[in-house]
Amino acid sequence: MAAFDVTDEQRALHAAAQGFFSEVSSEAAVRAQLGEPAGFDRGAWQRAVHELGLAGLAVPVDLNGSGASWTDAAIVLEEAGRFLYGGPLLSSLMATAVLRECPGPRSDALLARLADGAVVALSWDGGCSVDDGLLSGTTRYVVDGSSAEVLLVLGADDMYAVDLDTAATREPQLAFDRTRKLAVVTLEQSPAVVLDGDLRRAHDLLDVLQAAELLGSAQQALDLAVAYAKERVQFGRAIGSFQAIKHLLADLLLEVESARSAVYYAAAAADEGSDELERVAPLARAYTADVLLQAASDGMQVHGGISFTWEHPAHLYFRRAKAGQQLFGDPRSHRELLAQRLGLREIA
């Protein structure tokens, strides 16, 4: 497989994404949104949609998208994760993945709306069930649920799309990770459209996309800790010269770079339609989540007391890391999936 061959276009995309998120998702911009349980910076999102084509990044060109690869999507999400971007980018790319794997006119219509910036959220907690084409139930932890026009309801074996019109009620949920906007959505016999397709591959793609975002946050947590270790002086020398700190950061470097390899190998597997995806996707998802938790946690430790202050960004990455342990399933369940796909027999 041709993983890790970075093209000049991808280098340019990376630079563009980094430039964009460093601006619209600067620490000040992120902090400005911390108190908002439902919203996000709509101006920034409009720019993402219309200037950079990020909403429709992986939407086919004939549906007004940018027609980018999953590797491209990973590149952009990595930078979004690095800057803790809180707009509906991950949701849009996840929805794109699901819809592309369930081809048909209905999906095409939704993809076109997506590319135009409409927010499509995912229900992933199994809180809704379908009866006679009507969806009912309460689904929680829906990312961007407050601002979504459409909800995709993911099951293990089926998938539905429902328009979040007045029939649905949404209630913002205050997330521990303040940079992520969650909601409870309650549906009462909402008309739903069934989406048929390769749901297994769709789930795998979601894992890859999330892993890319987690990777970016981990990289930044590491970078912040390294910078601090070089600058902070105690006992007459930079604390990064002490083995206790140096070795902790070296171990973290190994983890973060390994997570990067996992993400881009997985993205390449997705792009090439490789069978390896079924193992690589849950692997990358579980691993990046754990690497981010380690990076954010060790990052707090390296920063010492200052990490305990609200003003310092270390805690924002720690919050993102804790969310990465549970949002869209935990690392344990992804490792169990990997074990099954490696041929370990199911426990009776």
Partner: protein, 405 residues
């Protein structure tokens, strides 16, 4: 233990019981009781007579404690727990003891710690707050951080630099700084948990009088060692039961609850898979061995032996709290994504995830603890110290100030 000692203990028990019967009224005025208590010597029974103690042996503490607990009275045990009075007793002149001890033992005055600075965390000897001679006292300028209780305190234990032309340890002095003065500006530090338990304290021409210098001028490092030793002793006795600041209950098989959630109760609620079961058993093990270490340290101290176990508690507790938080979060599942009063369990567990860093960073990071254990308990050699013999003025230093609030 000799039978003479046993007799003494029983006599002490009779005396404290009689004193409590006479003076303790659960519905009475607490402040008045505390004044009486200070004068009675029962607040710090092992301290000298005339210095708010009764000159009793260490073994008497338990007896006195039992009697206080039996009637529900508080305020004894200060010979172990009152760091502020303890350091004054150890290093104060007679005049200073007269001036401070009674106020501190009776609780009329409270104290806070003015050691850490933005540029001096793990490396306390690098303080840059300066105390400069002024008349018959000093003018103090600088910034301290991580001070809890600063606003409620009358006395701050202050470490400040009085000589910049000698190596760092040799140029610091220790002061009992009066907190209630214009030069002292206390500002709470907004924390990641949303609270503000700690403060920064800005000192701008704050005045310390002659009577506020504790120990020798430029001899503050020695005083600080006493104060840190007392603090470790307090933390050790708190952690010895594995129960944070709660009294260890040896009858209870587990004494620790993370963020209001007992991980063991949680684990019992439904059949858990083998991986969780292994983690629960490991978690319980970490907790129990730490509790037993505490009991063992106490027993070894009782035998007059120096116990290496006593110094393990802080590092052990760091792993315990971090592990417990993660295990609890794993069992709770996606609920921990949430925060706020509508989700009290999740928000408590999440708050605890942050609080765990207070244990692994505050009062000496895990890394510093490992240095201490390696050097003081195992006798391993120190690292080369680049700032050891260099005048502090020439040492590479961290920034002295930073505004958190």
């Amino acid at each position: 233990m000799s039978s003479d000692a046993t007799v003494d203990l029983e006599q002490a028990r009779a005396e404290v019981r009689a004193w409590l019967a006479e003076h303790w009224d659960p519905n009475g005025d607490k402040r008045a009781f505390n004044e009486l208590l200070a004068d009675s010597g029962w607040a710090a029974p092992t301290w000298p007579v005339g210095r708010f103690g009764r000159g009793l042996p260490r073994a008497a503490r338990r007896v006195v404690n039992e009697e206080f607990r039996a009637v529900g009275a508080r305020g004894t045990g200060q010979d172990v727990t009152n760091l502020f009075a303890g350091v004054v007793l150890a290093h104060g002149t007679e005049e200073q003891q007269d001036l401070f001890l009674r106020k501190l033992v009776s609780g009329a005055w409270r104290g806070c710690l003015l050691y850490s600075e933005p540029g001096a965390g793990s490396d306390l000897a690098a303080v840059q707050t300066r105390a400069e001679p002024d008349g018959d006292g000093w003018l103090v300028n600088g910034q301290k951080v991580w001070t809890s209780g600063a606003r409620e305190s009358q006395v701050g234990l202050l470490l400040a630099r009085t000589d910049w032309d000698v190596p760092k340890h040799k140029g610091v002095s220790f002061f009992l700084l009066p907190m209630d003065q214009d030069g002292v500006d206390v500002r709470p530090i907004p924390q990641v948990t949303g609270g503000a338990h700690f403060n920064e304290v800005f000192l701008t021409d704050a005045r310390a009088g002659r009577e506020h210098l504790l120990g020798e001028l430029h001899g503050g490092w020695r005083v600080l060692q006493t104060a840190l030793g007392l603090e470790r002793q307090i933390m050790g006795s708190e952690s010895s039961g594995g129960g944070g600041s709660r009294t260890p209950d040896p009858e209870s098989p587990w004494t620790r609850v993370i963020g209001g959630v007992d991980y063991l109760e949680l684990a019992r609620q439904e059949p858990r898979d083998t991986e969780i079961r292994q983690r629960v058993a490991q978690m319980y093990t970490l907790e129990q061995v730490n509790r037993w270490n505490g009991l063992r340290a106490r027993a070894e101290r009782g035998h007059g032996a120096a116990s290496p176990v006593a110094s393990l508690g802080k590092l052990a507790m760091s792993r315990i709290v971090h592990t417990a938080v993660q295990l609890t979060a794993t069992m709770l599942g996606p609920e921990v994504l949430l925060d706020g009063p509508e989700h009290p369990v999740a928000s408590e567990v999440n708050r605890s995830a942050f609080a765990a860093f207070v244990t692994s960073i505050g009062g000496g990071t895990d890394q510093i603890q490992r240095n201490i254990l390696g050097e003081r308990v195992l006798g391993l050699p120190k690292e080369p110290e680049v700032d050891r013999d260099v005048p502090f003025r020439e040492v590479r230093k961290a920034e002295a100030t930073r505004r958190f609030s």
